[in-house]
């Protein structure tokens, strides 16, 4: 079809589609859809029986975006900041707004530090981290790992080899550091 004012003809008419597809067109009217219009002012919509919610107790200095006027009345209390990662997180929240890349990059860095800190800390507990069970990698053998990866035209095959590298890298690095440290200690004892 040349480039004309007409809309290309569809293979099936609305009647044919209605007959073939259950529910075709039941939400046909664009004005009669649950999220239309996007904003619909109705303060009674939600059944809130408060104008402003009561405040949840703040059990430790809760980090917050500097774009907020105050600590929100309700907030999550999972995983208070701790260790070096906690210091980085607090600094990021205190210093940078959400509009600054530094804010997010520092938080991502804190996440990586947290993972290392937590893994080391786990070795002092009765439940040390176990990369085999925690990655769920054994499901490769019980849930058709190889056939799933090799079948069809999956394009993600190209970067699959990166995943074990990303998971193993910190462990290899930690093992290397531990080995060098032990060698140095052993060297010193021999010299003594």
């Amino acid at each position: 079809m040349a480039y004309t004012a007409d809309k290309p003809k569809l293979a099936e008419s609305s009647d044919e589609l209605r007959a073939r597809i259950p529910g075709w067109g039941v939400d046909l009217d664009p004005k009669d859809r649950p999220s239309v219009p996007q904003e619909r002012f109705d303060p009674t919509l939600n059944g809130a029986h408060w104008e402003f919610p009561e405040r949840q107790p703040e059990k430790w200095p809760r980090e917050r975006s500097i774009e907020h006027k105050f600590l929100t009345p309700v907030f999550g209390t999972s995983c208070p900041p701790k260790g070096l990662s906690g210091m980085i997180r607090r600094y990021s929240y205190r210093r940078y707004s959400e509009g600054r890349a530094a804010h997010w990059l520092l938080l991502l860095a804190a996440d990586r530090v947290d993972a290392v800190e937590s893994t080391f800390a786990s070795f002092l507990t009765r439940h040390p981290d176990n990369p085999i069970t925690e990655t769920g990698v054994l499901s490769e053998f019980t849930h058709h790992g190889l056939p799933s990866r090799l079948g069809g035209k999956r394009v993600d095959r190209l970067h699959h080899p990166l995943d074990p590298v990303l998971v193993a890298a910190p462990w290899v690095l930690a093992a290397g550091v531990a080995y060098l440290a032990l060698r140095r200690v052993a060297g010193r004892s021999t010299q003594d």
Partner: protein, 382 residues
């Protein structure tokens, strides 16, 4: 209680944790009967979302039974079987009063750009999620509601995010009768968006992915015309060819931050975390929709910048619409559609896995093994 706990990128385990407590008068504690792993949970699992702390419990799709309520709770009581939207929201702020529940200003101290989401990092408020035996639900009078007696838990849990989001995504496309709709991604949200597009009168629904088993599901479940982008040298050119070189009227990005199809974009975003997300699907949506068309973004992206082809969006006069879904707004209509037999949410569930094996569940879902489309988690097997 037993709960899934994040241990670092690609690692998690089940641990004994303290049962959550009432921390606010309008809190409830829910005993979880069914949870799900969402595609967006994989962004957390892969370490892409800033401020994802070791020790956090994920899970923003869950249903259960009310176990305890705070002193000001009126609308639910212990013993009620409830479904909980993934949005944590107060019901009374500027945004909630306008129906923008996912943009609540009173529940997330960590960021103003996003509301509260259960189990979705501190960037979304620092709330533990429902991949556990129990979960704290703030504003129990606002978000949760009793599950209709005729609805089973498997269907109900999919209404807490995936189905509501797919349906919402189709609405943001402003579909009119006879529109050609292309959906990028044949995961749960893409499948529901494709199915919903028909309800809104689409004349043709096309689904794009690279996983054949998911495209087969899109054809069977969503009656869609499907194409594997791995087969084509350039999927955008193919889409132009099959739409008389005009492009689709509406494009829906149901992939988000870990999109494949461009190795550089994928690796810089998903592996090296140098972008908020890999915008391959979004860029394809921009390229393949017609001039003046609508792009609806349902895929989740991180808060950092992403290399989006904004110039083409401008030059084509596109309307880009997006938001986290305000779930509860969708429920009354979706209940009708389910009762009328137009939608059967649990038709896309492929795996039901006990909480104790959740590490395997994440690996299977992440690596797309075993034909996985939607895994459900069963914290309290009967």
């Amino acid at each position: 209680m037993r709960a899934m706990v994040y241990r670092g990128p690609y690692r998690l385990r089940v641990e004994e944790k303290d049962r959550p407590a009432i921390e606010h008068p309008n809190d409830a504690i829910i005993k979880v009967t069914r949870a799900a792993i969402c595609g967006s949970d994989l962004h957390l699992y892969h370490g892409m979302m800033p401020d994802t702390r070791v020790g956090m419990t994920f899970g923003h799709e869950f249903v259960g039974v009310v176990d305890e309520v705070g002193p000001s709770v009126r609308n639910v009581q212990p013993g009620d079987r409830v479904m909980v939207p993934f949005n944590v929201y107060c019901g009374s702020c500027f945004f909630c009063a306008r129906g923008l529940f996912s943009n609540c200003h009173n529940v997330n101290p960590n960021a103003t750009a996003v509301g509260g989401i259960y189990g979705y990092s501190h960037t979304c408020g620092g709330y533990d999620g429902g991949q556990a035996e129990y979960v704290r639900v703030p504003f129990a009078d606002i978000g949760p509601r009793q599950i209709p007696e005729w609805m089973d838990d498997d269907d109900a849990v999919l209404l807490t995010d995936a189905l509501a989001t797919g349906y919402f995504g189709a609405q943001l496309g402003d579909i009119v009768e006879g529109d050609v709709v292309v959906v990028f991604g044949a995961g749960p949200v893409g499948l529901y968006a494709a199915k919903s597009a028909w309800l809104m009168g689409a004349g043709r629904v096309i689904v794009i992915d690279h996983l054949d088993y998911r495209l087969e599901k899109a054809a069977a479940f969503a009656h869609a015309e499907t194409y594997n982008f791995g087969v084509y040298d350039d999927i955008v050119v193919h889409l132009k060819k099959i739409t008389d070189h005009l492009g689709a009227d509406v494009a829906i990005d149901a992939v988000g931050a870990e999109a494949d199809g461009n190795l550089l974009q994928h690796v810089t975003a998903a592996k090296l975390k140098l972008q908020g997300g890999s915008p391959v699907a979004l860029n394809w949506a921009i390229d393949s929709v017609r001039k003046g068309g609508n792009v609806s973004v349902m895929g989740a992206y991180g808060p950092m910048f992403s290399a989006v082809k904004f110039g083409d969006a401008l030059n084509k006069g596109l309307t880009l619409r997006m938001n986290q879904c305000p779930v509860k707004r969708q429920w009354p209509r979706l209940f009708e559609h389910i009762r009328n037999g137009y939608l059967k949410p649990s038709d896309i569930v492929t795996h039901r896995i006990p909480l104790e094996h959740i590490a395997e569940a994440y690996h299977i879902f992440s690596a797309k093994l075993d034909g996985c489309i939607k895994p459900l988690i069963v914290p309290n097997p009967a």
